[in-house]
Amino acid sequence: MEYFRSGLKSVLGSSTPGNQPTGAEIVERLVSRVSTSTLLEDRRDACRALKALSKKYRLEVGAQGLDVLKQVLELDRSDCEIIGYCLDTLCNITSKETFEEENENNINMNVNVGEQFTEMFLKNTDNVTLILSFLEEYDFRVRWPAVRLMTSLVSSKPKDVQDIILVSPMGVSKLMDLLLENREVIRNDAVLLLTNLTKSNANMQKIVAFENAFDRLFDIIKDEGRTDGGIVVEDCLLLMLNLLKNNNSNINFFHEGAYLQKIPPMFELPSNLEEIGWSPQKISNFLCVLQLIRTVVSPNNSAQIITACQKTIRNTNLLEALSNILMASGVPADILTETINAVGEVIRGNLTNQEYFANVLAPSNPPRPAIVVLLMSMVNEKQPFPLRCAVLYCFECFLFKNEIGQELVVQTLLPSNSGMSNLSMGQILCSGLFSNDHLSIWFSAVALSHCLIENPAQKEQLLRVLLATSLGAQPISLLQQSAVFLQHTSKLQAKLGIMMLLAQWMSYSPEAVRVFLNVPGSMAFLTAQTSASEFDNNEELLQGLCAFLMGLCVLYNDNSIQNYSKENLSQLIEKRVGIDTYCKKLVEISRHEVYAKAAKQPQIKAKHSSELLLEFEFCKLLKSLEGVIIQALGVQRELSNGMSELSLNEHENALLLQYKELIRDQDKKLQDMQKSINNLQKINHTLEAQMKELQDTNTQLTDQNTLLKAQLAVNPSVVTNGPIQVDSPVQHSNESVLLEKIKILEQEKSEAENELNRVRKDQDDLLELMTDQDSKLNNFKQRLRELGETIEDDDSDVENNSEGAENES
């Protein structure tokens, strides 16, 4: 500190002892020296001092010095030293972090100073262009701080900086050239800068890729020793991931540019790996490479790209490399898990790759198929949870659109094949299905259900599977056993798993439905569950799934069991559960957050095992059949109602026509009103958005105001009179302009609020009117019904109808 002061003294000239100047005063003097000195030397010294103060007196330096610093950047650009000081200073004042020195100063500000200064700096887009131009200066004192300043700006205001760089020609080129830097600090910082810059901006990602980013990055990775390299390798891989994620155009480019071919060398494991082990950095690097592979074959990508990349991955022996890691010993669990996920996505829906994978053997004694070994860990409670999830996902990927694979699994369970080793895929799954670990039950049930998707032949084959129960007892079929087990297990997770299996099995399969209905108690179980009223903790999922299974029993019923014919089951639902309740329970599933989570992507994603309840393919099945079931039940009801226009006499017919006319009229009115409500809602929406915007501007202005006030507070010497007067005329006029703006904005805001209230009231009126019309409509319908007319149902009057039906019975 003492050194500091003496340094300052030499810059400022010695001040009278005992009369220490305040920080604000020092800064003020320095700033004026920078702007008035004619000697470069002097300006340079002052800038050096400003830099030294820019952490501790960040607010003062930023508030008073921003303009001067920009001026120096423009006028003194030929002197690398002074430019370096300026850039460093700007870096400090725009930084997001709070400096220790700053806290000493005890200014408790609730605005983020760095962000505010960033915003001020970015107001003029030329400033960014200026910084970009400094990237071209080779001198280390300029180039490095320029990179860091860009990074600082991007991290506070990514969107703004992205937009500016996108429209400045060659902007990206200048950044890309930094990747060729031989001074590592600069190069490494440039990688980080580009990573921040390409976040969630597809256009930026594409330009960076166009500018040969992949070549540059692979070069760096290679130079740094690939996965054995340091954190810069990880950073390069993260940047690549940024460029590829959800960017089909770039993935296509990555594939066409033969960059996938550069990956296999990264998977080469040194022969002495077991001795040297896996360093944390190596694990991180490795995980990134695995994610890179997953990104290009992600199920979210377009089918064309997935297929092309899968093929290339096989042809370049990447799939082989992945399989080797799967079977190598001493691989950390994280990597193993991610490798399993990667293998899954590389083979998903690709017959050749699936076949390849089916033939991979584990180096066990005797050798077993890798799939078998993996399934064994899936049903092993001691294995880490994420690993078990990965295995299920990989297995699902193996079966996806793979009839041969599905058959392969089911076959191992058929009577002719029993007696074979008890370590076949099917047998592992069956033992998992009836084990004591409910997570294993869930995994196994879901795995088995995937053998049946869109495969009628295997649904039939699996019906033939018999299980030996206790000694001497009759063998029981797999479906029967599942149905019995369902009634007896108390664990929700296990129940849901079994029900999802049954649902896949019974959909589109009258045979399976028949077997299910013949299991004693199964219908009673479903009815009891569906009609139960109270539920706790995800119980509604169970009830919904029971309703779904009931629906499947109606839908795929060949009427071969007298008691449970289509019609009888429909009546059972209507009488015992009630159509309303039934529908409510059924649609409850797809509204559940568990459903939303599972339906999002094929991969099983859960932090904790208790979160595993529903599964992706089941969600798809449910969504596709939900409506069909509700419709089928409706149709069934109408048939049993047996009423038609034929049975009415002429007078009644005339009356009926009148009413129909009336209803049509009212329907139209209703629609019109709905439309106007929609319109009003839209207007409401826009107004709300506008208001939000105004509020935001308002907050911003208030923040700026606070900032300015704070500057005044720490710098009272410049206040002449009144709280808002500042010595600089520019600031002064700024201040009053801002106040003026705030006033205008506040006025606008209150106007918008008034408007909003008016619209809200209108909307309320309309809603009231609509309810009115609705009840009139219902009255008419009721009267029609009393006349014995059947009325076409639509969603809105299901309720009334069933009421009517109940009255009749």
Binding site: P169, S173, N203, K206, F210, D215, E256, A258
Partner: protein, 213 residues
């Protein structure tokens, strides 16, 4: 899979003139009847053969809408070839050519080969720009010219391939600095950069496969 050269192209021109359709016809041999507005840029690639050499074309199809103009500019510098497209059924797209050309010339490297394309030649009945006008414009500005139809695929192959031939010839003549990737040209992985003109031996190589025009 491996190639002797890799050329980077861009396709530019007003919105709706058929840039994306030309690319799709060239890479996938399909036609897309609905206008699917390009947002930013889209990438496509294909291998062609010139002078019995494999050449990989990497093509960036840009958005014609005004709002994307500045983004498009980022792609000029790194491209070896550009297809500048107008729609023969809409005169205004022809009228805008000078703006496009100025933009391209200003931001690209001076050796970039520009191919002028009058697209939608299948819509003869709705033609607003005569073929001769296109030819005249091309002659005046030193461009190669062709009329194409992305719908019937007429001249589509030729447009892309002839552009490549021009670039190839320029390489043979030593105009392009092939070791500077910023020119939009790369030499294939196993081809030595020191003697690029070895097998074709000079100018005869370029003329060999160019019988069609």
């Amino acid at each position: 899979m491996s190639y002797a050269y890799l050329f980077k192209y861009i396709i530019i021109g007003d919105t709706g003139v058929g840039k994306s359709c030309l690319l799709l016809q060239f890479t996938d041999k399909r036609f897309q009847p609905v206008h699917d507005l390009t947002i930013g840029v889209e990438f496509g690639a294909r291998m062609i053969t010139i002078d019995s050499k494999q050449i990989k074309l990497q093509i960036w199809d840009t958005a014609g809408q005004e709002a994307f103009r500045s983004i498009t500019r980022s792609y000029y510098r790194g491209a070896a070839g550009a297809l500048l497209v107008y729609d023969i059924t809409r005169r205004e797209t022809f009228n805008h050519l000078t703006t496009w050309l100025d933009d391209a010339r200003q931001h690209s490297n001076s050796n970039m080969v520009i191919m002028l394309i009058g697209n939608k030649s299948d819509l003869e009945s709705r033609r607003e720009v005569k073929k001769e006008e296109g030819e005249a414009f091309a002659r005046e500005h030193g461009l190669v010219f062709m009329e194409t139809s992305a719908k019937t695929a007429a001249n589509v192959e030729e447009a892309f391939i002839n552009t490549a031939k021009e670039i190839y010839e320029k390489i043979q003549e030593g105009v392009f600095d092939i070791n500077n990737e910023a020119n939009g040209i790369k030499i294939g992985p196993q081809h030595s950069p020191t003697n690029p003109s070895l097998p074709g031996s000079g100018s005869s190589g370029g003329s060999q496969g160019s019988g069609c025009c």
